[in-house]
Structure formats: C-alpha cells, structure tokens
C-alpha cells in the first residue's frame, strides 16, 4: 500500500492508502465514483480514459489512466471531464462539441475533450501558423479512438474554436 494525495478538479483528495497495482482509472471510478473518465481498452490504446495532468510550470498534458497506477499520480494535479464546466457554465470547447454534434454514443467524449482542451491551452501559450493548424489538430487527436463518428466533427469543433479566436491560438499575419 502506498499513500496517495492528489488534486482533482481543484479539490484535494487524500492522503489515501491505495494498492500499488491499483490503476488510476479504478481509483477514479471505483474509489471516488468519478465515472466521467471512461474505461475502454485497459491497454492505453483508445484513450477514452485520458485525463489532464497539470504541471507546476503551467503546462499540461493528457495521460491514460487505465495502464497507469494510481500511486504514480501522487502529488499531481489533474482535471477530468467533470471539472471543465464552472458553475454550470460549459467551456467553449464543450459547447463546440455539442453544437457540432461531435459525438454520438459519447463514450469517447471525455478523452477528446481533455485532449482538445490541452491543445487549446498549449496553442494559447505557443500559437502555430494557420498552415500548420490541420496537422496540429490531427496529431493531437489521433491517439483517441471513436467508433461512431468518423472523427470529422470532433476535428471541426476544435478547429472552429481556434479559428473563432485566431488571435489567441494562431501566429499573427499567417
């Protein structure tokens, strides 16, 4: 057993004793009841289980939770799908997913949302040229599997959010 302390969606959890071989996915879903983070393959292949990890330096990345132990998240700050909306107000990306009909069954949505959000935050810090945008979106989202939609509407939603605020996300004069 190892002691785990973690901040999820701004709220501190723990310290809690957890088994060393307990997955982060099971910690979220079975211990905390936070089932917005999904279990898809248990092999790190579909990323429906991905959460956002916020680094102390202000950068963020997504991580699968199904093949990663809970204890490896000790001391970390993470965000899950349940933490995006604030006071009932959806984020721009959440709204874009809905307006674009980006998902169908919705089981992969948490993973795409987290990945898209990380991309937006990264571009806000390090904008890319317009010509690089399609490639940037494609590379960011390609690890995620969606069996229903053919991906197009996820890409459209992310693209539209970026283009709607191009000063923020794209290099000027491109």
């Amino acid at each position: 057993m190892t002691r785990l302390s973690i901040t999820i969606n701004g709220r501190a959890h723990g310290p809690t004793d957890v088994r060393d071989d307990l997955s982060m996915n099971d910690f979220l879903r079975e211990y905390l009841g936070m089932t917005g983070t999904k279990f898809g393959c248990g092999a790190g292949q579909c990323l429906s289980c991905a959460v956002i990890v916020d680094n102390p330096d202000g950068t963020s990345f997504t991580s699968p939770t199904c093949v990663v132990s809970a204890v490896s998240f000790d001391g970390k700050v993470i965000r899950t799908v349940e933490g995006h909306a604030k006071n009932g107000e959806l984020t721009t990306l959440q709204k874009a997913f809905i307006e674009h009909f980006s998902f169908q069954c919705g089981y992969c949505t948490a993973g795409f949302l987290n990945e898209g959000q990380v991309l937006l935050e990264r571009l806000a810090k390090a904008p890319v040229a317009r010509a690089e945008l399609e490639k940037t979106i494609a590379e960011a989202l390609d690890g995620h599997i969606c069996r229903c939609t053919g991906y197009i509407k996820y890409h459209e939603a992310v693209r539209d959010v970026i283009l709607a605020d191009s000063k923020r996300y794209l290099v000027a004069n491109q």
Partner: protein, 924 residues
Amino acid sequence: MRPSRREFVKWVSASGIALSLSRLGSAEAAGLPPRASLPGREGWNPAANGAGRIDGVAKVTGAKLYASDFRASDLPGWPQSTSHAILVRAPDATHVYVGMDLARLSGALKPSVVVTAADLDKIGTRVPAFYTGDLFCPVGKTPIYMGQPVALLIFETFDTFDRARLALRYGTFVKFGEETGPVAIPNYGAYRFTRVAGATPDAPDVYSPVQAGWVSPGRSQISPLPVWSPLAKDTPAPYSKAAVHGEQIRSELAAKNSNLLMLDREFETQSVDPMFLEPEAGLAWYNSKSESLELVLGVQSPYEAAESIEHMLGKASAPFKPARINAQFTYVGGGFGGRDHTPFVLYVALAAMFFPGRPVRLAHDRYQQFQAGIKRHPFKMRSRIGVDRSTGKITAFAADHVLDGGGLANFSVNVATVAATAAIGIYDIPKVDVTTVVVHSRGVTAGSMRGYGTLQSMTALEVLIDEVAAALPLDPIEFRRRNALKPDGRTMCGNRYSVSVRTTEMLDKLEKHPIWQQRAQQKSAARPGTLVGTGLACVTKDYGAGADCSLGRVELSAEGKITIYCDHVEMGNGIGTALANRVAIHLGVVADEVSVARVDSYDVLGLVTSGDPYMMDQKTQDRAEKDPRWVPAISTATSASVGAHVGTHSAAEAARVIFRFGLWPAALELWNIAPNDPRAKDWAKAQWKDGQLVMSGLAALPLSALAAKAYARNLVTGAMAHSFSRWEWSRARFPFNGEQYRAEIDALAVRKGNGKFARIDRVSVRFPPAVNNQSGNTYTSMCGTLVRVEIERATGVLRIAKAYNVFECGRALVPEVVLGQAQGGFAMGVGYALLENLPPYEGGPGNGQWNLGQYLVARGSDLPLRDLEIEVLPPLTPDEPPKGMAEVVMVPVVPAILNAIFDATGRRFQSLPVTASLLKGVLA
C-alpha cells in the same frame, strides 16, 4: 417461412415473475451533482432550440449515463457497497474442460461465491431458446465454443476482485484434459432463394420466394453442410421445386455460349468486432426480503433482455426464483448490433441470484469483450454471373454462401437470409439462385452487426460487377445503369419495394462527380512511386427486421412543456434528438424531456400478445386481433436501422393526436372560429413557425397559450400509442370525440386536461398480412460511394485521398446526426476493408488475449477527414417518411475501395482485409 428473429416469451410471465422495466438516467440518480441531461433543466442547451443533441450536455460533462457508470451507491434504495464478479471463460474448445485451478485464488484472493454448471443444474435454470447451449460448460465436456463461460467468481470487495482479476489475466486457470476436437453441432439454418421472372416485366414470376415461400433443403447426417441437390432422398417437396429451377439456372450459366460473358468468382470476408467503446457491463441486486431482482443494464434490446432473464429463472427453485424483476436501462456506449440479444445480461442476473443481498457488478474488460462479444460473420461466397455481351444486361446470377456463425446461433440465420436476399444488390436480374448455410463452429458467436449480411454479399457483388464491366468492356456506371432495378421492378424474392428507389439518380451523381470525372487525369499524374486508382460502388440496404414495433408517449404540460417517452434505445444513434424533432413537427417546439429505453410507461394500453410475428399464419393473426388489446409484438430491439423510421413513429403519432384533439380545438377557440365554420377542419393547413401556430389571416398562437387553453377546456394533453410494422404499418380505427380516428397505429390511449390516461379500444384494425413474412425486404435505402486511393509502391501503404458518399434517407429528422452516421459508417467501412481482422479459432479472440493495438480500427489518420464529401439527397416530398440509413452508408465504402485498389494496381483482391503488407506483397 421467414425464420423468427427470436423465441417469443410472453410479456405477462407464465412463470409468475412480474416484470418491470424503466430507463435509468443521470437525472434520476441520487447523490450526484446536478448535471442535467435534458434541455430545459439547466441554463444552456442548444438542443432546446433545435441545435445539438438532446443528450449533449450530459455527455460533455461526464454524467452517469452508461451501465458501466453505475454502482450500488448511485441507486436509491440499494445497499451502499458493490461486489464484483468475474465471468471465467474457456480459451479452448477442442479439449475436455476439467475444472479451474482455484488454488491460485487462495487467501485474500478467494472468491466469496463460485457458480458453475453444476450449480445451475441444482437450482433448475432454463436456457432461453435464443441462447441454446450450456450457460456454463460442465466439467467433463468440451466447450462448444471458445469463450464459453465455465464459472462466475463473485468477490465481496473491489480490491479482492481486482487482485484476482490481475492474477488470472495470464496463465492456465482453466484446465483442460483429453483432446476431442471441436464439438459437432448441426448447422443453424440453410435456405435457397430462387426466382425465375416472367417473360416481360409485367408478367408474373414463373417462380419466386414470395409465391412459394422460403425453402430449406434436407439436412445431411454426415456433414454440417446441407444437401442442395433437388433429387436427394429426403428433400422436402417445396424445396425441390426451387432447386429444380435453381439447377436449371446454373446449367444455363455453365453452358458454352459465346454471346454470354460468364464469370465465376470466390470471395471471402473476415470476422470483425463491433468494437463499441463501452465494454458490456451490468449491475444487479437480489433483495431477498422483497424477492425482487433489481437490474441495471445497457442493451439494444431491453424488452428481450428482461424476458430472457425471466425465462432463465422462471422455473428455478427457491430461493433462486425472484418474485419480480425490475430492470432499469441506461444509455449505451455504442452498439452496432453487438448489444442486440446479448447473453451477457443472463450472467449479470445470475451473479446477483447467487450472492443475495449484495449488489454485484459484472463488467467485461476489453480482453473479455473481444473473447465473448458478438462478432460479424465471416463469409465464403462463390458467385456466377452471366451477361449478354450484346446488350450488357445481366441474364442470370447464382451464388453459394457459407457463413461461420460461431458458438451460438444468435441471429445467424437472419444474417444468412439477409445476405442471400441482398445478393443481387441494386440490379434487376431475371434468373437468380442463391443458396446459403450458416454453420456452427468453435469460434466466438457472431450476430447482427451493422450492415449484417448485406455488407458481405454486396461487397462480393460490387467487386464482381466492376470486373464484368471491365471484361465486356462497358463503362462501370453505364453497366450499372443498364441493369439497375427500376422503382416498380421486382427484387430477387419477387416483391417490390414500397419506398423510393433512387438508384439512377445516385448513379448520375456518381458519374458527374469530379472524383470520377478526373480519374484518368489523377492516375496519370501520380507521383513517382505512387499508384493512384479510383473505384465506385452502389448498393441498397434494407432497414427493419420484418416485425418491428415502437411504443411512444407524449405529454404536454399546461405551460407548454413537452415530455416524450419511447421504448427504443439511445446508443449514439440520436434517437432522443430524432424523437424531439419528429414530435416538434406536430407540437411546434423541441421537447423539454426525452426519456428513451422506456418500456414501462404504457400500462394503460394493456397490450397483450401471443405467437411469433415472423411465423404466424393469417388465420391465427385474424383470430388474435379480435382482442382489441392484442398486437403481434409489444417491443422490439433498436437495431437494423429502425431508429428514425420505427423508433420515432409511435411518439409522432401520439403527438399528432395531441395536436388534432388538443391544440387544434384550443386554437379554434382562441381564434373564435366556431365548430361549424368550414375552417374548423383546416388543421392540415396550420403550420408551426418559431414555436407558434400560424394560419393565414389569423393571429399566431404560442404553444404555451394553446396548452393552457387545452387544459382549461379539458382537451387532449397527452397520448400514447403502439405501432407495428411488417414491411408496412398496422392501421386501426378508434372511436373518439364523436368521430372515427384512423391512424397507422394499433393501440391508443389519451389524457384530457389533468386527467389520467384512458385507453381507447380500436374498433377495427389491419395488421400487415402474414404473407409479408415471405417477402424480401420492402424497405430499402440506396447509397453510392466514390473513392480515390494512393498507394505507395514500396511500402503498400494506402491513403484515401478523396471520397464521396451519396445516399437518400427520406426526411432526415436530425440532419447533423445523419451526416455523422455517414461519416462514422465511412470510417467503419475503411476499417473493414483495410484494417480489421480476427483470425478464427485458436489464434483468434476466443483465446482471451486480444485487445486494441493488435486489433486495428480506423483512426483519424486513416481517413480523409478534410476530403470526405457526403451528399444526402433531399426527400422526394416534404413529408416523405424517414428511411433507415445508418447501415447502408457503410456498405459501398468497402467495394469502392477494392475497386479503387484494382484501378491502381491491376490486382483484384477477393478477400478482406486488404492490408498494407498484402499490397506490398503484390506490388513487389
């Protein structure tokens, strides 16, 4: 006779178990943050204005929606803790099962309960006929298929379960002894479809399945394959007649005839997994005090799931027979047919019955889902086609299909017959003879996965058609146009389609598209080391299963808020949003609440049923329908692309009743139009605009004002209806408000003002005739695809450079969902054509070692995300009913890719998938 899609069990349980079914959604779950899932319940939801999905907010906020999300503590009245079960399955089906190595689960890993075949024998469970086969393989027998369960292990706590699960992941926990080889089981079914057309298009057929019924050959005692010969000793007489015609067609194809181009080709398709993202899961609790079995399940067929569990436990000894079963159904994380009639739910129920008082969760991980989830059938097909060289017209077609159904019958027979009756695609061929047999094997059970049957047979056909056109030679679109079935033509079963047939329009679209027009130019402009090719295909796909029904209930509040209940299931198909939009056609605004997978909200209709809707004869139906509460079936699965067409039908008809007998008389009063004014009958002229009812020359009336008036005058404010379709709708007459109300429904109840719902017994009914069971499908949708591929000669890597999909679906209830389904269908088609493959038997998924990574599905980088054009033809008329489209959009993608590969490489592949390594091999 058309084979039944399922064994019927009476709704009012003969075993004495009371069934109750309802929908479970986040809005009802106690103790959860208030994440609303429905428009009108929170600050912002574009679906309230007709933009976005009804379930949009729930899905982007991580609400508990799916069966895998729920634990006991989420459910009001349940104990707080959840126990967990492992379903242990056999990874071998050629050796005798001798038991489990339970010593590996000692100490802290020891299960609280172990359930085996012997335990089921003791308590007296029954296996529903649809799932015939041992629920658990008994010790001393060889499993009948790889992945057959051998035991349930139940663990009181999650940690014990989790550690045991990890300990059992690898190794030989399930023990086997003597080698026996696979268990021999007779084939699941064999049919022959033969048609000989009359001398002219208007003349009656010489022979057809519609005339003579569906026929099966005799069964061989020594081979899993049937005896197709018409002269075999034990050949049934009706079969013999078909076979004589069939053999004659084959003789003509085999005869030397220089005027006839004859091609004889074989084609094989592979097994694939639906790979819906949410592995199957369920939660159950047997409350031994109240003798109530509580279930939380996520399936495409809720009604059937509850019936099957009731049947399984209906004769069990005490205390294993519940007095009642309360099943709650959730949203589904993808289905694609893989959750339609799944045996998984039986094991969820068993887990609870063997651990009374403790809620138990059973959930597949992805390895288990690959090992046991329903698969797509692999086919072996041989096709012969004869074409008159001078006219370019197809004169005859013969084919033989052999399907591998895997371990349990499931929908194997239906897949086989759908494939066979779809074997000539969009074409009009006067002489057709198709045999089909689906065999049992030790592989994982196959079922009715998206596009079932048609995907396989039309892929083989459209590749063959391309080859014929090249051999004649004739332009492939022109060849298709010459042979396309006309709207009034007969299918290979001898029936006509009852819906729009727009093949020619589709071929015109394909022909004019730049991808087709520029094919030669693109080919010649290929970069060095790259091969470029363009391919096309055009298909038609049935929707509906031949005995489909829906239940719908619509309520209007005094403030004008709309609530809809429907028995069909939301699995991503957008049924909730489609319901809201279809009801809005009649009531002017999008609903405030849509509750799907509800089978519990129609008690007032008092529906009863009997017999099998697929098998019953006309006399039986005529006798039964005299009971005004009788219907051929009460609730059916969300499958076979029926969501828009069938799933929304009853709710739409209920809304129509509310308008006609609630809102319209309310409007007349508000407009001061007297009942005897001629305008009082002009309800069809009224239109909804921006939530207001408008009539020329009169004040626009908001729904809220109309609703208030309807309540004040005790007019109709709610309606519920049942409808049934056997390739046409039931129609009935209801005495109401001094008139005879006629509609395409067979049961109706209404509510007036604040009153209660009251049934209106029909005074006459016309159910679709039983002879329709002999028909081929009459509901069909068409789709055409163009694909341009680029193949790297050195690596065999294929890139889809551009693609175009054109189809028709009548009136699209939610155009964005239709578009999304087409995009998703394209992706699934690409995966089937190029990537996905499950080997049979020992190296296949039944060994429990398969997962993503080894199994490849299409990712974004495999698809032309910016270069896929989808065109949906507008409906022929504004009120054309919606047509199923979720399957057909996938089908032509596959042969179009194969035809493009031929155009690029000169190589015709006759099996799937065509992987990069295969391409590299032929290009070396």
